[in-house]
């Protein structure tokens, strides 16, 4: 839509600026808070400009954590979160690529039924099945382990559905041509399907990484040992301190640090991400 009206241009830009401010303001406040000393918040007034305690606050979060609240140094938590988010993203993609491959390219009894059963699990996210899932994880001895953090979250109906749609847009002749070219099913999967779904895989990776990074309830249940705490959990622990004021400057520093890895992932994969979401040409 191209309209040459100065008023509209101003209006659209105003709207955009408002939108950006709306989204960015909390982040700015968090950053500002992380640069002040502990006493600047007691008055109840929120400072709007950065203070001079930035280095000190970040150093404390990185080196010691907040031991009174039972939060370990953030380095370990960031590592744990990364392992979990990467594991979930990679695992989900691998599992759903394979299941979509099976559903689209193979004729087997109850194929459609299998697809709909997978689809139905959309209605059963972790939060709904959390008790039975915990029970299973506990009896398998997965508590306080990375596998326990990752495996119960690894099946994804959404991703399976997405890859199914992607595969359906790939012309059938490609599969036939590769059959004539002597490629077996797995070779076709590796040489043709995966390269052709590259941008979709990247887009999904970004979304799933952030999904994994932001997991809160499940890590809270399945880890009881500080060595497996994730960043999001750590922040919650710091807020919910007994018998004292939360140390907002440290909490905000942690929050800012916890925001960085997903941002990094988005920055690195931005081009593929956008192409994967909008590109239709095969």
């Amino acid at each position: 839509m191209v309209e040459r009206r100065p008023f509209l241009t101003v209006l659209t830009h105003l709207t955009l600026i408002l939108g950006v401010a709306f989204v960015a303001l909390p982040v700015w406040i968090a950053f500002v808070a992380s640069t002040h000393g502990a006493h600047d918040f007691i008055s109840g007034l929120m400072p709007l400009w950065p203070g001079d305690q930035m280095v000190k606050n970040y150093w404390q979060v990185l080196s010691q954590g907040e031991s009174t609240a039972g939060a370990p140094p953030i380095g370990l938590m960031l590592f744990n979160s990364s392992v979990m988010a990467l594991g979930i993203a990679v695992g989900k993609i691998a599992v759903s690529l394979l299941s979509a491959f099976a559903i689209v390219y193979f004729r087997f009894p109850f194929r459609i039924a299998a697809f709909w059963v997978i689809f139905l699990t959309l209605m059963l996210p972790v939060e709904v099945r959390i008790l039975p899932t915990f029970e299973v994880a506990a009896s398998l001895g997965l508590l306080n382990s990375y596998s326990g953090l990752i495996l119960p979250l690894i099946a994804s109906a959404t991703a399976t559905f997405l890859f199914r749609q992607v595969f359906l847009t790939i012309p059938e002749e490609l599969a036939e041509a590769s059959r004539i070219d002597g490629a077996g099913p797995m070779k076709f999967f590796r040489d043709i399907l995966i390269p052709l779904s590259r941008t979709n895989i990247a887009a999904l990776f970004v979304i799933l990484f952030i999904y994994g990074w932001n997991q809160y309830l499940w890590p809270l249940l399945v880890t009881t040992d500080a060595s497996h705490y994730t960043a999001v959990m750590g922040i919650q622990r710091m807020v919910a301190v007994p018998d004292s004021e939360p140390l907002w400057h440290l909490i905000m520093a942690t929050a800012i640090l916890a925001m960085l890895p997903p941002v990094l992932v988005i920055l690195v994969m931005q081009r593929l991400f956008v192409r994967g979401l909008i590109e239709q040409e095969k």
């Binding site: 490609l174 036939e176 004539i180 002597g182 043709i192």
Partner: protein, 361 residues
């Protein structure tokens, strides 16, 4: 180099649809066989059965005398060119052509030599490093052919390979394809719905309809002696005119008309209802004298329109019984719609078909 033999080949889809009914066909080594017919006639299914992309539900497909029904496509030593080319979009032209050879475990220098040779043959050498999306339709078509050529197969299979090209390029590629096939001497099966393409390419023309073969022969045999009304109306552009008539005592009389003609001596034994066919180029406008004569069928028509197409004009008209008749006239002809005139055709140029079975009499 190989012959392809189909004996009693049939295909029934799981839903019960019989796409191909008991086909017998022998394609000689090195020849180019064209399967032509309207869409849904089973020609593509037949080709895909030879390729191994469809299971054969009846009969035997043999390549070089060996039954291949149960062999995977890659084991049949065939190569196929698809209508939409089916190039791998993420691979360069070189990799597209080399992929099949790599899967076979061909040595690298050998692959390189074959790919470059095919590229030279098809004049796509400068494009070897490009991706398919950077190529024009004609170039993609060449790459698809190149992919088939490098494998040095026993049989080439073409599934409407030219139908995605524009008209001019299609003619050019058609000539090139024919030349290439003759040069390589590889047995080929070519599927098309374009009768002109079929006529110009075919060593052996197979006209199919409703899952069955209507006629097999060289292009000119099929054109000059169509065995059924279907073939008569499918081959030739514009197609043969078909007009209902009846034969009695060696005289052919058009339905609802006084027009009649005495049949040649060898056809006098016929009698009953027939369909008479006459090619548009065998008709001429009779100059006034309505004396049909013994040797000429002259019948009145009403002009419905004229299409000038350059070197010739097509005159569309209707007989008294309502049958459409097209006449090919040389040059630029002007006739008003609604005008009445008489058309004439020599008795020797008339094709007679049974009114019941549509078979040639």
């Amino acid at each position: 180099m190989a012959s392809v033999t189909l004996s009693d080949v049939g295909k029934i889809y799981p839903g019960g649809v019989e796409a191909v009914k008991s086909i017998d066909l022998e394609i000689a080594d090195g020849s180019l066989c064209v399967l032509v017919g309207p869409s849904g006639c089973g020609k593509s299914t037949l080709l895909r059965m030879v390729a191994g992309l469809e299971t054969v539900t009846g009969g035997t497909v043999s390549i070089d005398g060996a039954p291949v029904n149960d062999r995977e496509p890659a084991e049949r030593d065939i190569a196929m060119v698809f209508q939409n080319y089916a190039l791998y979009p993420h691979m360069s032209v070189y990799d597209n052509m080399a992929y099949g050879l790599r899967n076979r475990g061909t040595a690298k220098p050998e692959i390189d030599r074959k790919v470059r040779e095919a590229a030279r043959l098809l004049a796509i050498e400068p494009m070897l490093q490009r991706k398919p999306r950077q190529l024009s339709g004609g170039q993609r078509q060449r790459v698809a052919m190149g992919r088939a050529i490098v494998r040095d197969p026993k049989v080439f299979l073409f599934d409407e390979p030219l139908s995605n090209l524009d008209a001019k390029l299609r003619v050019q590629m058609r000539i090139e394809l024919k030349r290439l096939q003759q040069r390589l001497g590889t047995t080929s099966i070519y599927v098309t719905h374009d009768q002109l393409e079929a006529m110009t390419l075919a060593d052996l023309l197979v006209v199919m309809n409703g899952g069955e073969i209507e006629q097999i022969g060289t292009a000119m045999e099929v054109y000059e002696r169509p065995q059924t009304t279907f073939v008569a109306s499918f081959i030739g552009s514009p197609p043969m005119n078909l007009v209902p008539a009846a034969v009695a005592d060696g005289v052919l009389r058009l339905t609802d008309s006084a027009a009649q003609v005495t049949l040649p001596a060898d056809r006098r034994g016929l009698s009953g209802a027939v369909i008479v066919g006459v090619r548009p180029e065998d008709l001429r406008i009779d100059g006034g004298s309505e004396t049909g004569g013994a040797e000429t069928l002259a019948f009145p028509v009403t002009v419905t329109g004229v299409e000038p197409i350059g070197a010739e004009s097509l005159l569309h008209s209707q007989t008294e019984s309502g049958a459409d008749v097209t006449v090919r006239l040389p040059g630029y002809a002007v006739h008003a719609a609604g005008a009445a005139m008489t058309l004439a055709a020599p008795a020797g140029k008339l094709h007679l078909f049974s009114a019941d079975t549509g078979r040639r009499l």
